[in-house]
């Protein structure tokens, strides 16, 4: 699920639950999640692993 798809679903759910104050918070979280997913430690299944600097994970 992309962050945009996740945000649309989360906002719809918040509206359905009658929690409009939650929507700006979810928009802020979406920005943070975009940043997390863009971090250079994240692997891709079609690339070499990036764990040379993170040997605890092997």
């Amino acid at each position: 699920m992309t962050v945009a798809e996740w945000l649309a679903l989360a906002k719809a759910d918040a509206e359905k639950r009658g929690l409009p104050d939650l929507i700006p918070a979810l928009e802020g979280l979406a920005k943070a999640t975009e940043q997390l997913r863009a971090a250079d430690w994240n692997d891709r299944a079609d690339h070499d692993l990036k764990d040379a600097r993170d040997d605890d994970h092997r």
Binding site: A25, A32, T33, L36, R37, A39, W41, D54, H57
Partner: protein, 447 residues
């Protein structure tokens, strides 16, 4: 007065624990209606324990530097026979059936517990204004926050409501109120002090530690809070600043500072340099990702703990904390795993930044205590969220787990305290304290 000043007098029976405890209780009675530092005051039990301590000391059974010393405990930590509210109406009817290990150890050291201090609800915030028991207020300016989440602990030590305090720190909740209230706050290495019997925010980021009037007092408290096998009773010898090697993570930790905080911080660092400290810049390559790593970890961990009460009694949470907890339930597992991976990388980068140096030096709090109710504060020509600014300098070392201490290093022109942070190597908390003792000696009065 400090523990270092009081303990020898109590031991020599030049002053009684009862008198010291009465003084603290009188200060609480005078100031708590205005500052709201305490949720529960255990005056009768404290006086009874103080009299007992005086008898023990008179009978030749002196237990050590905390014997007869009045302390306060953050109301997130179990103390048998008193409620642990966590600053929330969700737990207003709770009654602790046993002491948390940290409470038990302090009692065994002879401490007198005067009460449970106010906090940001469930430790989930940096200002202590969202509490089910009303906002805590800064003793230097009651229109401002004392910092949080251990806000009541910072107030208690700054005003003498208690001689020392125990707080918790998940993203800065000991060091932020210490900086905002002008006292010392010590976050030990993760896992060094048991968090059993402490209401969790994030079990992998929560730390328990002391707030105190001096570095030496913080050490005495920390030492008593450790398991017996880990204690180092003697105070680390104060080293000279000459030869101490400091690393300054200038990028990120110095780039979003309030102008007055920045001026004080840079003046302090110049003082350290002038006294012989070797200071060089160091890098944290993934510093810009620390906040998002922290956010995803703390949200998901908090969601796990709060899910059932959020569903059954949402109205008992304060509105802001409820919104954050509701948001927390939307974090996806894949993003949580990304954050865990980032946590491991950031911890290694802090280790690397410490390579060849003794301690990192940086601000503890990037802004002075913010006005209660402020959502944003001006920094570097723009406005930024108060929560983001308050966590910025402290949360890296919750993510990494390194020991860190905040100590007062001066005031702004508005007389609001500024806090300096030192960060030590894992496994070497005494060396961090030793460096802090040396720094404390030379920086008082910088402004």
């Amino acid at each position: 007065m400090t523990i270092a000043e009081l303990a020898p007098k109590i031991a020599a029976r030049k002053i009684t624990s009862e008198k010291v405890t009465e003084n603290c209780l009188a200060t609480i009675a005078e100031l708590n209606p205005k500052l709201n530092a305490f949720i529960t005051v255990t005056a009768d039990a404290a006086l009874a324990r103080a009299r007992e301590a005086d008898k023990e000391i008179a009978g030749g059974r002196y237990l050590g530097p905390l014997h007869g010393i009045p302390l306060s405990i953050k109301d997130l930590i179990d103390c048998k026979g008193t409620p642990t509210t966590a600053g929330s109406l969700v737990r207003k009817d709770h009654m602790a059936s046993s002491d948390a290990p940290v409470t038990r150890r302090l009692r065994e050291a002879g401490a007198v517990l005067v009460g449970k201090t106010n906090l940001h609800e469930f430790a989930f915030g940096t200002t202590s204004e969202d509490s089910g028991f009303g906002p805590a207020r800064n003793p230097h300016d009651p229109t401002r926050s004392p910092g949080g989440s251990s806000g009541g602990s910072g107030i208690a030590v700054a005003t003498g409501m208690s001689v020392g305090a125990v707080g918790t720190d998940t993203g800065g909740s000991i060091r932020i109120p210490a900086a905002a209230c002008g006292v010392v706050g010590l976050k030990p290495e993760w896992g060094q002090i048991s968090a059993t019997g402490v209401v969790p925010l994030s079990r992998q980021l929560d730390h328990v530690g002391p707030l105190a009037a001096s570095v030496a007092d913080a050490w005495v408290l920390l030492n008593a809070m450790l398991p017996a096998a880990g204690r180092v009773n003697a105070l680390p010898e104060t080293s000279s600043l000459k030869g101490l090697r400091f690393g300054m993570p200038t990028a990120y930790l110095f780039d979003r500072l309030d102008a007055d905080v920045e001026r004080t911080m840079l003046a302090t660092i110049e003082v350290l340099r002038s006294k012989g400290a070797a200071i060089r810049e160091v890098a944290l390559p993934h510093a810009n990702e620390i906040a998002t790593v922290y956010l995803h970890l703390v949200l998901a961990d908090a969601a796990e703990y709060h899910a059932r009460t959020l569903e059954s009694r949402p109205q008992d949470y304060t509105p802001n904390v409820r919104v954050r907890l509701e948001m927390a339930r939307y974090v996806l597992a894949e993003d949580y795993i990304r954050a865990l991976r980032g946590k491991s990388i950031i911890a290694k980068e802090v280790d690397r930044a410490l390579h060849g140096i003794d301690v990192l030096v940086c601000p503890a709090l990037s802004i002075p205590a913010p006005p209660i109710g402020a959502a944003t504060m001006p920094v570097k020509g723009g406005n930024e969220a108060v929560r983001t600014l308050m966590l910025r300098c402290t949360q890296p070392f919750n993510v990494s787990g390194h020991p860190a201490i905040s100590l007062p290093c001066g005031t702004t022109p508005a007389k609001l305290p500024v806090g300096l942070q030192l960060v030590g190597h894992k496994g070497r908390t005494p060396a961090l304290v030793q460096a802090a003792l040396a720094v404390e000696k030379v920086i008082s009065g910088v402004s």
